[in-house]
């Protein structure tokens, strides 16, 4: 009867230490990806006109965006508002200063929707 070669058994292990380390890294990356997709503050503001994406920008930089001469979107300190709207009722200008994901400013006459993109606050508002 031949003796057991410990070295050859070790080499035939399905997973070696490096494999376990690689799997651990992958698992951590998956967990990080899932968390990144389900938490945190709003990252972007999106402007859609007639249902089509007109503009998308990070909230990190202060700026004023002219939307086709119909209204201006103001990004300041991570908050978003609307001014200089040409619509008759100006309801969009009276909307709350947006700083939470899920919030939207809708200008129905101009068919423009300004929305805070991201997760963590509200999935939707009724």
């Amino acid at each position: 009867m031949r003796g057991i070669d410990r070295k050859s058994v070790k080499s035939r292990k399905i997973l070696v230490r490096q494999d376990i380390a690689a799997i651990a890294v992958i698992v951590l990356l998956i967990i990080a990806a899932v968390i990144a997709g389900s938490g945190g503050r709003p990252d972007y503001v999106s402007v859609r006109m007639n249902g089509e994406l007109y503009y998308r920008a990070s909230l990190g930089e202060d700026k004023v965006v002219d939307v086709d001469g119909k209204l201006k979107v103001v990004i300041s300190g991570g908050k978003v508002s609307v001014r200089d709207a040409v619509c008759p009722d100006k309801l969009c200008e009276y909307s709350a200063l947006m700083d939470k994901s899920g919030q939207k400013i809708i200008c129905l006459p101009c068919k423009i929707v300004v929305s805070m993109d991201g997760k963590g606050d509200y999935e939707v508002i009724t």
Binding site: A33, Y94, S95, A96, G102, K104, I125
Partner: protein, 338 residues
């Protein structure tokens, strides 16, 4: 080399999993029924479901809108008294459902108030007119004989609707958006969609597991959230006096008309959020609550075994009541629980 292959395989698995997590179909803000419609679906055949939902909403708008020429509703509204108007099965179903709700809400939910809605300048063609002012009592009085829903008869077998008087007009605004949200949810279910949001002008259907839904503050700038509720696989609908309203002599005039007075409802209820599996029912009950007042609307909503948050205003102070299985969490100060 084997280790390298294993590592590549693992990275591919990671990519597939993250792609599956991120995969979603078609979020867009469409302008239909005089409002915005947002559809965001994940899982199953989300792309197919999205396309079919958009087509279905466009089809239903052509049938049910007051402002689309030759829609079922437009033809009923333009018909003379006694004329038979052929309408779609969807329209018949909604008219019959609206009739049941007319009775169950003691006439608070009434789709036949459209002549008054026009008079108060809340119809789609007048909604953006400037410098609005309330109509005279005489003008209101003259229209009151034409706002009884029972003066509309519906023959479901023949698919026809008949008005008693030509001046009678109907508007499905308080029920059609909910009906459309229900249809969209049925299509998403058919295509195996796992999660998502269907938002038809504030008539929301949450598909899949519970998410945090914000409820609009009726007295602060639009977009301010007053309460939140976690809900999944269900519809959430809010009606209130803060939408489609104007001010004249410091008085608020809003679009939810009380059929008894012919004027915007003043029941004390300024916002009603109803949660239930049937969005059309939730839609109509939320509208009726603003007309019926707190006690009657809570009792009615409880009789349907639904959940609700009712916000009232009394002496300038805001109060809230709730019923049902859901927990409504205040997000800001300024509300007292009754």
């Amino acid at each position: 080399m084997k280790k390298l292959i294993k590592l590549i395989a693992l990275i591919l698995v990671f990519c597939c999993i993250t792609a599956a997590v991120a995969c979603s179909a078609g979020e867009t803000d469409m302008f239909m029924l005089g409002t915005t419609v947002t559809v965001n679906l994940k899982g199953g055949s989300a792309n197919k479901a999205f396309k079919e939902i958009v087509q279905e909403i466009e089809r239903l708008e052509q049938l049910l809108s007051t402002s689309v020429p030759d829609s079922d509703i437009d033809r009923i509204n333009k018909a003379n008294g006694g004329d038979e108007t052929a309408v779609s099965k969807e329209c018949v179903d909604l008219l019959i459902f609206a009739g049941e709700l007319y009775e169950n809400t003691d006439k608070a939910f009434n789709i036949a108030l459209f002549p008054l809605v026009e008079l108060w300048q809340f119809s789609p063609d007048k909604i953006y007119e400037e410098n609005k002012k309330p109509p005279s009592n005489q003008d209101i009085f003259e229209l009151m004989p034409y706002v009884d829903f029972n003066d509309l008869s519906v023959d479901a077998d023949k698919g026809i609707a008949v008005k008693k008087d030509g001046k009678m007009k109907i508007d499905l605004g308080g029920i059609a958006k909910g009906y459309i949200a229900d249809r969209a949810n049925q299509i998403a279910e058919k295509h195996g969609v796992k999660s998502g949001i269907i938002n038809v002008g504030g008539n929301i259907y949450v598909i899949g597991e519970a998410v945090k839904v914000g409820i609009t503050d009726p007295r602060r700038p639009s977009g301010t959230v007053a309460f939140s509720v976690r809900a999944g696989n269900i519809s959430i609908v809010t009606s209130g006096d803060y939408e489609k309203c104007y001010f004249y002599d410091n008085e608020r005039y809003h679009h939810i008309i009380d059929g008894v007075t012919g004027s915007p409802a003043k029941s004390g209820v300024i916002s009603a959020t109803v949660i239930g599996g049937n969005s059309a029912l939730a839609d109509s009950l939320a509208t009726a609550a603003v007309v019926m007042g707190l006690e009657k609307s809570l009792a009615l909503i409880q009789s349907y075994s639904l959940s609700a948050l009712i916000i009232t205003e009394k002496d300038g102070k805001l109060h809230y009541n709730s019923t049902g299985d859901y927990e409504f969490t205040p997000e800001i100060d300024g509300y007292e629980r009754d």
